[in-house]
Amino acid sequence: MIDTYLIPLVKILFVLNATLIGVTYMVLLERKVIAWVQVRLGPMRVGPYGILQPIADAVKLILKEDITPTRADKWVFTAAPIIVMVPALITFAVIPFGPVVNLFGRQVPLYITDVNVGLLYIVSVASIGVYGIILGGWASNSKFPLLASLRASAQLISYEVAVTMTLVSMIMTAGTLSMVKIVESQYDQHLWFIFVQPVAFVLFFIGGLAETNRAPFDMAEAEQELTGGFHTEYSGMRFALFFLAEYANMIVVSSVATTLFLGGWLAPFPNVGWLSFLGYVPSWMWFLLKTFAFLYVFLWVRATLPRYRYDQLMRLGWKVLIPIAIANVVVTGIVKVLF
């Protein structure tokens, strides 16, 4: 009973809360990192060094009036932020934060579940998130959000193809769809897959930026062009959901990248004898460190690069990334067959 219901429940609650807190602090981290890049301090008022800022933000957003435009489609308008948020959260079900560890005398795996279609599950759940953006823009019954949601959905759909293609080459390398087994396969090969599949890593990173609508591909919410994009008409808690979902998606992409390319919970060059001292750092710590490094790159890119134009982005996706991804799959296959 404890093993089947209680432990998973505790894990789910823990991951859910950790994710939500992580997401809110992600916002603070972004503001801080970008502030440091731009030689300023960022939030400093609420708490020491502004560490209570997310709480203040949350309180403010909850207390704000939640406006629904009169001409909006009320049901869809309300549902859209939820549709965006839920897939971002349920993806964490299959992400392994660590191996099976001994906790209070009980063998507990540091992941919620391990399904044999784990990677496909993540991709398919992520594809549901598009609805929130399309519908949010459509239901607002306003022109800028509509343009933005068309942009966003075209962008997401085209980048999904490239990302999925890179994942195919990763599946071929690892020989499994299960997230845990992918990490274990890296353990067996003594190597993070980033060294095996560097091209796929770059493609996944670019595709991940585009899929999460992050700079330099953030034209769906480019406030300079479309006044905030698909969430122009949103306010209060519903806006906060959109906002948090974006950061949750960033964490998802970072965790997936960590698992696939950076060896998940593994130390660098795992399973090598003389490097075993790296094992003193707990496995989940490695995972968090790598995810954090990945997230930092996201923020760094946002602070540095200008924004692509919509048609250039589409051209990049269809004419550059997808062909390279397909070529990568072919090359991986040939190498697999030959060696």
């Binding site: 489609d73 049901w75 869809v76 549902a79 399904v115 044999n116 279609v117 496909l120 599950y121 991709v123 398919s124 759940v125 992520a126 594809s127 549901i128 598009v130 609805y131 399309i134 519908l135 459509w138 509509l146 068309l150 959905s153 759909i157 999904e160 769809l177």
Partner: protein, 170 residues
């Protein structure tokens, strides 16, 4: 027991959302209900230990095809809803007649099920459930390789056709 509850709940969802798809006047809402319907069907596939199919259902159907529908609904900006048009030549009674036929079939199934109950269902821990992806993949790439290639050709042709249809000038 748990399986029965899950089946009935999911069936209710599937049929309920299907009815809503067919009856809703607002096309965008209909698309949304279709997505929910597909998600419920995917859950049913998980119940039937076809995880790969469930994921494919979500990925291709809910995440791909229905997005296309949504796009078209948004692009086709209707000034008057199609249902307002007068159409004297439509024969709704055909629909009801056909559905009556289906009801008869339903009765036949029930009757047959009562007369000759189906045999026991395979265990959930069978090979097909555990190594679902491998099994399906093996079948697909060995016995059904030619249909698989034909299907890929079909998709290619559909892609070319769709581009040509949707493009304004070539």
């Amino acid at each position: 027991m748990a399986q029965s509850i899950a089946f009935y709940v999911l069936s209710t969802f599937i049929l309920g959302f299907a009815v809503l798809v067919v009856t809703t006047r607002n096309t965008v809402h209909a698309v949304l209900f279709l997505v929910l319907n597909f998600l419920a069907v995917a859950a049913l596939y998980v119940l039937l230990t076809a995880q790969f199919l469930a994921v494919i259902q979500v990925l291709v159907y809910a995440g791909g095809i229905v997005v296309l529908y949504l796009f078209v609904v948004m692009l086709v900006n209707l000034k008057r809803p199609p249902e307002d048009h007068m159409a004297p030549q439509r024969h709704n009674w055909i629909g009801f007649g056909l559905s009556a036929l289906v009801l008869v079939e339903l009765g036949a199934i029930i009757g047959y099920g009562a007369v000759a109950p189906a045999g026991p269902v395979g265990a959930q821990t069978s090979d097909l459930a555990l190594n679902n992806v491998e099994r399906v993949g093996m079948l697909l790439y060995t016995d059904y390789l030619i249909p698989f290639e034909v299907a890929s050709m079909l998709l290619l042709v559909a892609m070319v056709g769709a581009i040509i249809l949707a493009k304004r000038e070539l």
